[in-house]
Symmetry: C2
């Protein structure tokens, strides 16, 4: 049995609080630095390497982090989770997103169904549907092939799938896997749907309505928006729309859709990219085999996350170091910096994944915790960020821990050699340089040009942004966030903090408001 | 004469530190709350209103903030700046971006030139060029009209102009001002340029090379990338490229360009959207009149920023409240949340503007400061963010001050009425609801569903995202950041913190590295 205790009750955490802080500049300079970079490194799935040499840890701190992992029973808790325990205590639900891409433990049966079989079945149904769309067996009313797909969803039904689509778009084009172009409508701002619809050939578009509950205000509103547009063009919406929802939602088994594919309450929105939520759009855009490869990469990383020794488990160690930075060193935010244009929206997805999962003030028993939990997460691709907010990262008054992501090869392999190096080499040289610049700084008598260093970062290095690599990377962060939730003893799988705004917005629309809210409504001329 | 003193030497700052913290939940509840929302409000340019009722201030704190503004001589410093003082002390430069859109004070003569006339002249030269492109007087080699424009730039030459283009794209389409579609290449990642070039009809595209110094690595690399692509298509690059640069750069007066338009060292990259850097791409895309309207809005807001009473000066008051939150209340980050899909990349621009300007640890004399300066800035459009990181904002352990931006009307005015309200009404109801939800919270016995409230926000409300409104909004933030720099006594106009990474990257490419950096280079297979 596992014990769920608050972080600050654990002996190894108290030991961590007493540990000497590593002087990163010292540690990373000279031969000692080189040794660290080679040694503080763990292989990940899909050929990735996680290198944490430039983090403020040493062998002593790592030893205590290992003790913390054991004391907090991280591996046992993960095992309980993937074997079907009710880890989402707030909503009293199982947490099964790992099952969408593989089976790590026992059969999990819920609602009378073997859930692994259920998710596989949905993946297969989507694959069959996508193949029929691609072959021209399923067409529009005129018998013409569908050429575009438009996902209508918000939050987890948007950010993850959108980031994955953008990440693989160029790879697919290069590798003959670009079958349909995809678009996304999310915001209730009518300009979002209007602009997307103006860009899309709606007569040849399939729209995917994604809402687990079938009740999300933004998504249903945008569905109506799209249906109106289709009707205005003389098209039958039911011939252009599919649904991804739960079997119990009003959208299931409805004549309004060409087909419906299912997820369930055991998959949180922000963990749903590997379920039908990501599966439908990615299988239509790039083909079911590409989606299967994406799942394969995620499954490989999940397998690695079951490794009990944190020093061989990159997901767990990344989580432990993050908690050390947040709770012992006191850093309030973290930047994720992919040196890859393909990952331009990956930080926005991670922002949701992390902040919505662990931005909590009460533990899984509903009791207040007295230590900081999830940090603010932000990021933009490098080298763009270097010409933007890196000024503050290098010379600001606060320290922001960083995580870089780099790749050996570009996706399109279309490059130029200028001044003796290719663009990809320049890109890689920049990320390598940044790690050392942040860690070691540079002394200058002019303090305006002085770099103190001591600013911690890690890097995840991969070969290329392929479907498999992307799956592994996604799973790494999902597992990291999960392990951090275990450490903070919070429920990483509910999101009660989003409810109050929804309730009040409905009251505004019903005119059932007074005082301050009424004044804001008047100011905005609602 | 003005005195430049550190924030913590000012008597009114010390008084602020002693002030009672406002209980926001109390203040915003009931009739008192309604009164605040009506009273704590300042008109801005272009029809905007800045409402700060849901910030943790009261009449006493506001009084001290007014005293702080006076003691720090904010108005006098701004006056010095726009009259041509060397406010960028690190680089010993004037700071003249306000002059690109109007003249607030005396003639400013530098390098033997009246700078207002210089900027106007460049704006006019761009307008003439754009008009000739639109009329077909300037064409490609085959005499065909140019239909697309591609900006090649990074950092300030990218983020601002790109955010402005995205903000006005739909407005222009609706109002018959969409003349050329614009694209942006920034990252040295070769996949960026490759993907953009694959999307663009290069035979009918004008490329704008933007680099003040003419030496930016990424930009020159991407220029070569583009020139190669043009040559491969049998096109003459010199007939397809224009430059925006300084008159002293290697790009000026070069036969490699159809034309060159000038900025100068007195316009920082992140402040250059209203100079030729934004002017060329926006005038080509939407016409010179649209760019002129954008400048007009910025000039109006600048005028307002000269108002000496902070309670009538939204840019100054926003700055003061931000410093109060950062230095007295101790909040380390700030989120900017536009409820407008048009402003989807506006937060990324503000992230650079703010973090690159004020992410400094030394004052303008090069002495270390002993208080926090610029915060971490992040944001995504609402309602999207509500389904993502708002969980942490509502229930996380840290408080993140917020600034909402809302508009009464959508840009495309294409809307649907569903369940008794339009999408635009739903969008506005959501932003109003969020302010009150953050401020007042909601008690629940189940602490997992409890909202403590007390989370501060302000809102800027406008009519619609028009060119003029966008200019005013941009200028508001530029001026806010400037006033905060004055308060922190830092130089907001240099960026020495970006240099070290560049230097080290060059060494990596030259193979001139050892130890840790060498190991990272090996890991990345550079």
């Amino acid at each position: 049995m596992t014990n769920w205790n608050n972080l600050d009750t654990l002996a190894s955490y108290k030991e961590l609080l007493q540990s000497d802080v590593v002087d990163l500049k010292d540690a990373m300079t000279g031969e000692g630095g080189a040794k660290r970079v080679k040694e503080y490194r763990i292989p990940m799935a899909a050929g990735f390497t996680y290198d944490y040499a430039a983090k403020q840890v040493d062998d002593d701190i790592l030893k205590t982090l290992v003790a913390l992992a054991n004391e907090a029973q991280l591996s046992d808790k993960f095992e309980e989770l993937y074997n079907g325990a009710v880890v989402n205590t707030g909503e009293k639900r199982l947490v099964l997103h790992h099952l969408t891409r593989g089976q790590l433990g026992n059969d999990v049966v819920a609602d009378g169904t073997n859930k692994r079989k259920f998710y596989e079945e949905q993946q297969q149904r989507i694959a069959d549907f996508a193949n029929k769309v691609h072959s021209g067996e399923i067409t529009n009313e005129k018998g013409e092939k569908f050429t575009s797909v438009v996902q209508i969803g918000i939050g987890g039904s948007d950010l993850g799938p959108r980031a994955m689509y953008i990440a693989l778009e160029n790879w697919a084009k290069k590798n003959g896997k670009f079958l349909m172009d995809a678009h996304f409508i999310s915001n209730v701002d009518p300009d979002d749907a209007s602009a997307v619809l103006a860009d899309v050939d709606v007569a040849h578009a399939i729209f995917i309505l994604v809402s687990k509950s079938g009740t999300t205000l933004e998504t249903l509103t945008n569905q109506s928006f799209v249906m109106d547009a289709l009707k205005k063009d003389g098209l039958d919406p039911a011939k252009h729309m599919i649904a991804v929802t739960s079997e119990t939602s009003p959208l299931a088994d409805s004549p309004d859709y060409l087909a419906a594919f299912y997820m369930d309450d055991y998959i949180g929105g922000r963990y749903s990219s590997t379920s039908a939520v990501g599966g439908a759009v990615l299988s239509l855009a790039f083909g079911p085999e590409v989606f299967a490869d994406f799942l394969k990469g995620a499954a490989e990383e999940d397998k690695l996350a079951t490794e009990k020794d944190p020093l061989k488990n990159p997901d767990m160690l990344d989580a432990l170091i993050g908690v050390y930075e947040r709770n012992v060193l006191g850093y309030p935010s973290t930047a994720i910096l992919p040196y890859s244009q393909a990952l331009s929206r990956f930080p926005a997805h991670l922002q949701q994944l992390d902040m919505e999962s662990n931005g909590k003030s009460v533990n899984r028993f509903g009791e207040p915790v007295s230590y900081p939990t999830g940090p603010v997460i932000f990021g933009e691709p490098g080298t763009n960020g270097q010409h933007s907010f890196y000024q503050l990262l290098h010379q600001g008054t606060d320290i922001v821990p960083l995580q870089f992501i780099g790749f050996k090869k570009s996706q399109l392999e279309n490059d130029v050699d200028i001044q003796g190096s290719t663009s990809q080499q320049k890109l890689k040289a920049n990320v390598a340089a940044q790690i050392v610049a942040f860690a070691c700084g540079k002394d200058d008598e002019n303090l305006n040009k002085n770099f103190k260093g001591g600013r911690p970062s890690s890097i995840i290095v991969g070969d290329e942004v392929t479907p498999e690599a992307l799956g592994a990377l996604l799973a790494h962060y999902e597992n990291k966030v999960m392990f951090q939730g275990f450490l903070w003893n919070v429920n990483s799988f509910d999101q009660e903090g989003v409810q109050l705004g929804k309730t009040l917005a409905k009251k505004v629309l019903a005119g059932d408001i007074s005082d301050a809210l009424k004044e804001y409504a008047d100011l905005l001329e609602i």
